[in-house]
């Protein structure tokens, strides 16, 4: 026991020493090497988000390449090149937070790009906030990111509650047109049990409440989802007027397939990530006819800028730069937009000081091929709407909002199973 006591004493002394001495941490050096500005990002290159993580990385890379090829970033009359340091966060939040610290402390990164997914952004934002490092992120849509009073977090994409909000509005309008009250509409919900999808769900619940709609099914799909039979059986039993589904690409793929197999006759179905899951090419135009798909960006929209030209030109360039893409996922487009925000901010701030840059980013007001970018005081982009597309005869046509709509919504949907 004497020995044990000695150990404890030594441990206590050690701990006290670490606290007192350890607090004097040396800050890492600012990160502009020669004529290169270094940005940092922890991104999911492996693990469950790797598909979209790689889309985002490609988006960042294309943005960096185009900016570097077209004169770089001009600060103080000198032209700088951009470079991004990546770490693989393995799609896990804990790892993401560690890597953000590593980027800031060990690599001295002062300017951050976001990770993929809301969960990772939620894990990394407190770190960047703590070190007062501005982060422009393109893949974390969760609304709760923008209610924390973060000063250094900016997002170019529309927040999660907007994803399916327009489909609820559409359902209300259609009910009115058919002489029914919006409050008669029965809603069935199936959302994956993860931070992003549950945030989308919260938006749907709020909107449904606003119209007084009745939520008849509220299932949360597990991460290892391979069968939705029991949820869809419930849908058959309760006959809702609207079925909303969100569960990343795998949720969309499973849902689209089993909706067809079980011949679900719900007149209106909305789901996120249809494009990423390639539901039309996988399950055919007939089976997926009439499904509503919200998207952050579509190459058919008439947004444009000086660097990439129109949305369609970005689409063509992206396909040329990276092999194996049939459609350009919006995840890539918004990542590119985030790099453009950094360039714009460096040039307007004309400085490498992170406070000056933070203020410059907050004042951003620009048009890009991805849409307008203007940040609210909370940091989310308020200049770009979410668009709702419907699968019509195998094509994705924009049906809402009306400003961008290319065709009218078809209701009820008439799938051929």
């Amino acid at each position: 026991m004497r020995f044990l006591k000695m150990d404890l004493r030594a441990a206590t002394v050690a701990a006290a020493l670490t606290v007192s001495l350890g607090l004097a941490a040396a800050p890492a050096e600012a990160k502009v090497e020669g004529d290169t500005i270094i940005l940092g990002s922890a991104i999911s290159l492996t693990g469950k988000y790797s598909t979209n993580g790689i889309h985002a990385q490609n988006g960042y890379e294309l943005g960096v390449k185009m900016i570097n090829d077209n004169g770089g970033v001009k600060v103080g009359g000198k032209s700088y090149k951009l470079k991004v340091v990546y770490y693989d966060d393995e799609s896990t939040p804990a790892r993401g937070a560690q890597l953000a610290e590593r980027l800031i402390n060990q690599d001295g990164v002062k300017y951050m790009l976001g990770p993929y997914s809301s969960g990772l952004t939620k894990a990394i934002a407190p770190v960047t906030e703590k070190y007062k490092i501005p982060m422009v992120e393109a893949e974390g849509a969760s609304r709760s990111l923008f209610t924390q009073g973060y000063r250094y977090l900016f997002a170019v994409l529309s927040t999660s509650e907007q994803y399916l909000a327009s489909s609820i509005e559409l359902a209300a309008e259609i009910a009115k047109k058919n002489g029914k009250k919006p409050s008669d509409v029965k809603v069935a919900m199936a959302f994956e049990n993860d931070p992003f999808s549950l945030d989308v769900r919260a938006g749907v619940v709020d909107d449904a409440k606003r119209f007084g709609m009745k939520i008849v099914i509220d299932d949360k799909l597990p991460r290892d989802l391979s069968d939705m039979t029991s949820t869809l059986t419930k849908v058959k039993a309760l006959k809702p007027d609207l079925l909303v589904i969100s569960g990343h690409s795998k949720g969309a793929a499973t849902a689209a397939r089993q909706i067809a197999e079980l011949k679900i006759s719900t007149p209106m179905i909305a789901m996120t990530h249809c494009e990423a899951a390639k539901v039309i090419s996988k399950f055919g135009a007939g089976a997926t006819e009439g499904i509503l798909c919200p998207t952050q960006w579509a190459e058919t929209l008439s947004y444009k800028d000086d660097l990439f030209g129109t949305a369609a030109e970005y689409d063509a360039l992206f396909k040329k730069s990276f092999e194996g893409y049939k459609n350009v996922p919006y995840q890539a487009a918004q990542a590119t937009a985030a790099v453009m925000v950094w360039k714009d901010a460096f040039e307007r701030a004309n400085s490498f000081d992170s406070e000056a840059l933070r203020d410059a980013i907050a004042d951003t007001d620009m048009d890009t091929f991805y849409g307008g970018i203007k940040f609210s005081p909370a940091g989310n982009n308020i200049a770009k709407p979410m668009v709702l597309r419907q699968i019509q005869d195998g094509n994705l046509n924009v049906v809402a909002p009306l400003k961008w709509a290319s065709s009218e919504a078809r209701h009820p949907r008439q799938p051929k199973y």
Binding site: L221, K234, L238, A253
Partner: protein, 298 residues
Amino acid sequence: MFDNISILFQAPIFAVDLLVQGLLIGGIFVLAAYGLALVWGVMNVKNLAQGDMVILGGYVAYQCTLWGIHPILALPIAFVVLFVLGWGVYAAIIRRVVDRDMFTSLLATFGLSLLIQQALNLRFGPEVKIAEAGFGTFDIGELSIPAIRFVGLGLAAVLAICIVLFMRNSRMGQAIRATSQDPRAARVLGINTDQVYAFTYALNAAICGAAGVLVAMIWNIQPFYGLVHSIRAFIIVTAAGLGNLPGVIVAGFGLGVWENYSGFIFGAEFAVAAVVGLLVVVLMVRLFQMYRLRQVVR
């Protein structure tokens, strides 16, 4: 929860629907569980990579569809591919753990399971994949049941019968049964037990591969879905007991039905918890049975 139960009473057709769908899927669980019971009973190896072999078989089917081969034809291909692979795994890993304590085989196969998952993830990416057979849907009155589920159950039954006949009648099948009864005696009687073990493990891998093809056609596959399949196999074998083929069949179908009903009643968020929770319950029941047995012995 009670709302959901009341739906089943008000519209019993959906209760039937869930029952049928559950029975149809249960056939596949039986296959993987039978394979596990085989290696467990014959060579006392707890194969935690069981589910990952199922998923691997699914990816063989998926790869075949990419090459334009119909997934039904991928069934024999996956059987053969996984058989060869299983033999290789036996020679490299399992041969060295057969005689060791049982945790060794468990952990070694757990390492194998990680290896398979991650290799699949690197090769095919983390998105779910489906080997589409394109059979459409059967309508029976108000029920619509995907035809592939019937086909899947039929194929599983044919395969199971073939394996049972093989075990009964062939030389190798007899050797396997003899080894499982008494490996030392079998060795004395001139049976090459090492070869028997290799064959058994390879056969198990092949059965898993075939089950995986069915899973890829009926549900979907993803590199990390293996663990739930492994857990299912363990539940079934533990519930049925070793060497109890009818028990495995009943438990397999029962598990399929339980999954559908629990998903319906508790909500999909508890679907996996319901399966895994059942494992803990089954183990507990076995434990209390053992306690009773020990008291009797006392």
